[in-house]
Structure formats: structure tokens, C-alpha cells
């Protein structure tokens, strides 16, 4: 597990700032970019999966009950899922820390 970049000293950096561990972009928390987060109303959801298909960050995952849920670690809050949802089951609400 790579440590956060704010903890690296200049002496520890690999020559040329090469990234030696493949696939570590998945550790990058793009979720903290967002100012709105998607909220799903399960009563309106028809399980069509359009949110999952359209999400540009592949942040949606299918849960055990058959609902597609946005992983807020990656969700940037773009709102495309909310726009595309045919039953308007997803609303974007202001994220408050």
C-alpha cells in the first residue's frame, strides 16, 4: 500500500518519479472532489442499471439486494446518473462534511 503523497520526503522518491506499483491509481480518492452526492430513492428504482452504465468513473456497484449504489470514495458528484435515471430515483444533494 502506497502512503499518501503528503508523507513522502524527497529522498524516498524513486529516480524519475517512476511509479513501481501497477494499478495504484485505484487508491486515489477522487471522491473528495465533489460538492454534490447522489442519493437513491429505492422505492422509485427499477434496477435498470443506467446509472451504472453512464457513470464515467465506474463508481457504481451492484449490491446484494440488486440496487446500484455509488461508491462515494470515487464518485466526483458529476450528476450524470441523476440526469439519466428514467424514474428520477437519484437526486443530487449538497455534501456537507
Amino acid at each position: 500500500m502506497t502512503k499518501p503523497e503528503s508523507e513522502w520526503t524527497w529522498k524516498e522518491l524513486p529516480v524519475g518519479n517512476v511509479i513501481l506499483e501497477p494499478g495504484n491509481a485505484s487508491q486515489y480518492r477522487t471522491g473528495d472532489w465533489k460538492s454534490f452526492k447522489p442519493i437513491l430513492n429505492k422505492e422509485l428504482c427499477i434496477h435498470c442499471g443506467l446509472c451504472y452504465i453512464f457513470c464515467p468513473d465506474m463508481a457504481y456497484n451492484l449490491d446484494a439486494e440488486g440496487y446500484f449504489i455509488s461508491d462515494l470514495y470515487y464518485c466526483k458528484g458529476c450528476g450524470i446518473c441523476s440526469k439519466e435515471c428514467p424514474t428520477r430515483a437519484i437526486t443530487m444533494v449538497v455534501e456537507e462534511e
Binding site: 503523497e5 522518491l13 529516480v15 524519475g16 518519479n17 513501481l20
Partner: protein
Amino acid sequence: MAKRVGMEVSIAAAEAVKQANVDVISAYPITPQTHIVEHLSEIVANGEMDAEFFCVESEHSAMSVCIGSEATGARSFTCTSAQGLALMAEMTYIASGLRLPILMIVANRTLSAPLSIWNDHSDAMMIRDCGWVQYFVENGQEVYDHVFISYRLGEDRNVLFPVIINMDGFVLSHVIEPIELIEQEKIDQFLPPYQPLYQLHPDKPITMGAFALPAIFAETKKAQEVALRSSMPKILEVWKAFGDMTGRYYQPVETYKAEDAETLLVTMGSIGETASVAIDKMREEGRSVGLVKIRLWRPFPFDELKRATLHAKQLVVIDRAISVGACGPVASEVKAALYGDDQRPSVYNFVAGISGRDVTPSDFTKMVDKAEIEIEEGRKDGYEIYGVRE
């Protein structure tokens, strides 16, 4: 005994690239560099060299190809001049940031406008801060020698930096000089095959050229800065090893009749040879003058320059480029090197020989005359473009 043959300096440079077993050559033709790649393309096409020759559509692509090939572990070479270097500038910073030991020869030429193909150092100064090791050589033999020196240095695990050999366009690139060619066995011994520290390879995927947020960018630059500065011992070591092999020893700063001189000329590049003729003449007239030549431009040899100049009363620094709105770039560096010492010589700065205008021995004498008088009269940090018609 090594062979000594008369050949055009550009051809000698190309022969050196061949002897250095370069794997990838990528370049775009531009005067006065063209003869080097022209000859290399013939060598590769004739099957005399096992290398890939990439004909690209621009200098930006030439450097991009070198970055890509070097990243896979292939020894790579390019060369350019002036506007070509300007188009390539973006990629030069990337090559050094990725620590890829590419070699580039720059046949120095004036940057437009006005359009000019002749020689000065404005192109080299444009990318002064690009983070490469940068040499300024004085004659054809130095060009030939530094091809081997540069690869051995750049590829050293303690260095890993790209290297620029600056050679004056036309006055070096197009003249025929006696060049002492080194036997191939000796070169193979001096320059072993390149063993990259990291390389792009499907068996072990890594990422080169990732982005950096503000939280880590300063750390990356400090690492690069410290690494380039601390490559100085290696630079000296490689020159020493080369000298032991050939008898030709090089130094970051070289002096000529400078030890006891009150006035020192400071030059960089091929005009150093002309300046030494002027020094001989002035010495015959009993004047206390000497010459200091800067061969290593980056990392800048602050200590060596101080050792060579601090005893003098005044320095006459000749720049072959203008930092418009400031002064000559070499003079800036020289002044910065001396500023920490209370007992420091005055620095008088001439910009001379821009866009290929000849600088003769008598011009050097005139510049020394003028500087000595001006400093005597209290104008201790003069700056002017020499020889301009009023």
C-alpha cells in the same frame, strides 16, 4: 596508436555516435546541424550500424521518440539547432524530469527574429534551465570525445541525466579539423552497454511520467536538483577516466595564463581559442591578462570558477547571447558565483559575436582595453553589446 584524420566536425560527431553503439537515432534536419544526421542516416542505411533511424515530422517528435526509446532502455541520440530546439523545448524538460540519459548535440545557432542561420548561444540559453547536463565544447576533437563521455556519464546510476553537447554552428560543425579517432575496442571498454535502472517492459509494468499534485511536486524538483548538483564528482571522474585512456584531460573550468593575471577574459565555446591568441599577444606587450574558459554550463561549476578568478582585479565576461532586458547569461552566473566573497573582482560584460559576427583577436584586445579603462574610472559593472554601429 590512435589514428588522426582530417574530417568535417559534423562527420566526426556522427562517427562517434556510431562508435558509441547508439540504438535509436531520431532527428529532423535543420541548419547547421543537418550534416550530423545526414551522415548517420547513410551509416544506418548502409548497414554499418545496428540502429533504428526515425525520420520524424518535427523536432518535438524527434525528442519524443528519444524519450520513448530511452524509456525502454535503448541508447538514444538526437541533434538540433535554434528554431528546432525551440520546438523541442517542451520535451527537454520531460526528458530530464524522467531522468532519461539521452544525448543531444546542439549545433548552436541564433534564434529568430530576424531570421538568421549563423552561430551564437541564444538557442542554448533558451533552455538553460531544462535540467540536463550541459557542456560547451571548443573544437572538433572535444565534440567527438564528449559523445563517449556524455553517454558514460549520463547512464551512470549515480547520475541518470540527459546530456547536451553545445558546439558552435558552422565555425565548428562545418570546418575540417584533424580528429584523433579512438579504437573501437577502447571505446567498448570505456562505454559498456546501457543498463537502465527502470525501463518500460511488459514483464514488469511501471508508470513513467505520472502527474504530481502540489503536495509532492516540490519534493520531486528537490530530488532532481540535488541529483544534478551531486553529479559533479562523477563528471570529474568520467573526464579523468577518459583522460587516462586518451591523454586528453578535461576540466569544468579551464585556465590559460590566468594564475597571475590582473585581468581575466571569461569565454564559453569555440571563441576561447581565438581569445587565447589575443592573450598571447597582450602578454607579449607585457600586459597582465589571462583567460578562463567555462566548459561545463550545467551543473554550473561555482567552486571551480571562484578558484580560477577570485585573485583577479577584473573579469571581462564575453556572452554570445542576450537575456533581453537583463544582461549576458554567463555574466549573471559569474557574478552570482563571486557575490559571496568580499574580495571579488569587478565584472565587465560584453555581448559579442551574436549571429555569427566574427570576433577576432584584436576585438578581444579592444574589449579588455575598454573594460580596464571603464573600471579604472569607476564603472565597475558595465554591460554593452560590442561593436554595434552607432
